[in-house]
Chain length 146, copies 2
């Protein structure tokens, strides 16, 4: 089993920077791509990976990030279209084994699925947790109120 992975993260917002910091901390090789250099300020002082400034839908930018070597690509920008496009490019042109994209609009999840791209929709995940809370609350506090 390989312990250290080469991970490319597109988008250095709250999610991207958190993942970059955590994954770098536990010893993975991390490259973060963002069009806005200021977002790199959210990387922790201990971040030992690389930063690439640029539009990740551009092949040249992905090449600069050495995407061909990547085990994993995370598409975490705030734009579903960008995440979809980057994820597709990573799968089809760079043969990245594990591609995961954030998608805000769950209606797009089917499209991703059909393209073989794994997605995470934060709203759907939150909804599931809320639903579980109801199920749990019913069991735990079922007859607290008449």
């Amino acid at each position: 089993m390989k312990n250290s992975l080469y991970i490319v993260i597109v988008g250095c917002g709250r999610l991207g920077s958190y993942l970059a910091n955590q994954l770098s901390r536990v010893g993975h090789s991390v490259v973060v791509i963002d069009a806005n250099e200021e977002t790199f300020d959210d990387l922790s002082p201990g971040f030992s990976g690389f930063r690439v400034v640029g539009d990740a839908t551009q092949i040249a930018v992905l090449k600069e990030a050495k995407l061909k070597q990547a085990d994993v690509l995370f598409a975490t920008t705030h734009e579903d279209n960008v995440n979809l496009m980057v994820a597709q490019i990573a799968r089809k042109l760079f043969n990245v084994a594990h591609v995961l994209a954030r998608v805000f609009d769950p209606r797009r999840e089917q499209v991703y699925d059909q393209l073989g791209i794994e997605t995470i929709c934060p709203t759907s995940v939150a909804a599931e947790i809320f639903m579980l809370a109801v199920a749990g609350g019913r069991a735990a506090q079922g007859d607290a109120k008449p």
Copy 2:
């Protein structure tokens, strides 16, 4: 065990409307509150609950939603401050047993905690899933690349 709960949902956006539709469908009594009446368009034709138009930080609006009878309150608006305030009012003034609030900025989670309000941060949850994907990917595809 009580099977049907009285659930008040504040905010009828993507998350709120989804929860309202699902919870109504499985037989719970649901009231949705939103300041913008148009958001109720996202409720499904089968939604059998009530709609209250108004600012949920106003006691009168919460009274109209009969919050005192509620087993559960979900604060799902897009504004952390609104969710925090509504959740506090529900806990302290209406004694709602189970209060759950969405919070976008994880730095606020501690504040909520101290106030006894359970929170869900979609970004944090998504981050955990991404992290698990790395852990899973490492195990499953560990030596796929040199």
